[in-house]
Amino acid sequence: MSESYLDDNMLITRAQRGDRSAFNTLIRKHETRAYQYAFRLTRNPEEAADVVADAFVRIFNALHNFKGQSAFTTWMYRILTNCYLDVKKKEKNRVTTSLEAVLQTQEGEVERQIEDPSASPYDDTERTVRERSIENAVSLLPEYQRAMIVMYHAESMTYEEIAAALDLPVGTVKSRLNRARVSLRELLVKDEELFKI
């Protein structure tokens, strides 16, 4: 039987009783979805993988508290979002270094190696420039708004599911999501103006 058909609640119950293979199966079943969500938030493979790894650690540690009142995926999204927000909080508290900065080593100065997160020319041929600007604009939104936009428009979650994942009233989700869409529109307009010839 494909793992995608295994019931989450059954796996969780088994994992709560100490069955490691059940927890392994749970990870295997959801790691792709978790990563896609994390990547859409971070736009960075390393950071996204860290968010997912941290989230599964939290899930493992809190598994005994999971009562099944919401779907496992809803709980997973909540934890992923919290992990992502924690990463961003840490980043804000960290002293930033200029991209042009050099590292001082015993062998002298070494240019900082930073991976260019932008798409390769190949990617550009595969996707439209407009899609890229949408993704870029989403990445410029405040973290909470970004999470909501990704949950609704990329992960196809309902307002109720988002509300459960973020522990917010549905009305708040709706109004914040509206604000996020309006902000996104403004960001896209700025983007258009910037590249207008």
């Binding site: 295997r28 990563y35 190696q113 949408i134 936009i149 428009h153 109004s175 309006v182 529109r185």
Partner: protein
């Protein structure tokens, strides 16, 4: 209803969820306000464009499963013996579809900077370059750079990244084991360094093929498979073509025979690891 207030209802109106009274008021504003009309049209366009988000193809990195497994082990404070039961399948998954599928990077140990002080004055300089230690049927990758470094392990044939470690003064010890029958080859690179290292790790079976030709990297793979010894290659050009015939029962002699007239030197350490260097 002013423009700002009207914008608050864009989503609800678009989704048809605005109650009758508000909808009437909103539509009245919309009809009489050209700016609002333009804003709303742009809003609708944005919502349509957001549909593209769900169609974005996101490649899952091969290191994801390994990252999860490692983080879980670290969180549980697993001892070294924690390898590989808990993470074996995760790591197996991590290499699915990769030519270099054979390798298992066991639980990596990171020793904090304080070890530098306690482990003796020469340790930091000894490990300032990527080094290997043979430990039973495992090869342990050891590295303690004196500056911030990132070590990337990849498949030299496909170029796919298998593992990445970011180090900032810690000492890395990452056991590498190959549970599959055939030998496997890896490229280990400290980003920013001019040279990289090729490591061939023997599999679980002896590969009987004795004669062959190919690159120095291919030779390393063949040596590891036939003699079941790890082979490290540090050379600027690992694509240099050579031919070999393992007529000797001794791995070092066989490697030397293939390389002696090709500008490479061969040595075998006490722990069995064959080192191939360009002179």
């Amino acid at each position: 209803m002013n423009q700002e207030r009207a914008r608050d209802f864009f989503s609800a109106y678009y989704e048809g969820n605005l109650d009758a009274g508000l909808r009437q008021s909103f539509e009245l504003n919309l009809r009489s306000d050209a700016i609002l009309q333009s804003d709303y049209a742009a809003f609708v366009e944005t919502v349509h464009e957001l549909e593209a988000l769900k169609h974005e193809q996101i490649e899952i990195p091969i290191f994801l499963s390994d990252r999860i497994a490692t983080r879980l082990e670290l969180a549980q404070g697993k001892p070294k013996s924690g390898f590989p039961g808990w993470t074996g399948w995760l790591r197996g998954l991590a290499f699915t579809g990769l030519a270099a599928a054979a390798i298992i990077f066991a639980f990596p140990f990171f020793h904090g900077g304080s070890d530098l002080k306690t482990a003796g004055p020469n340790l930091a300089s000894d490990l300032d370059q990527v080094a290997f230690k043979v430990d039973g049927n495992k090869v342990v990758l050891r590295y303690q750079p004196s500056s911030i470094k990132t070590v990337v392990i990849s498949s030299p044939t496909s170029g796919k990244e298998v593992q990445r470690f970011s180090l900032n003064g810690q000492r890395l010890e990452s056991p590498i084991e190959n549970p599959l029958p055939k030998s496997a080859v890896f490229k280990i690179e400290a980003l920013g360094d001019k040279t990289s290292t090729i490591l061939a790790v023997p599999g679980q079976s002896m590969e009987p093929t004795k004669a062959g030709e190919g690159t120095v990297q291919d030779l390393a793979l063949a040596l590891a498979g036939h003699y079941r010894v790890p082979v490290e290659v540090e050379a600027a050009d690992v694509t240099h073509r050579v031919s070999w015939n393992f007529s000797s029962s001794d791995a070092r002699a066989a490697a030397n025979q293939a390389l002696e007239s090709e500008g490479f030197s061969v040595d075998q350490r006490q722990d069995g690891l064959i080192e191939i260097l360009d002179r």
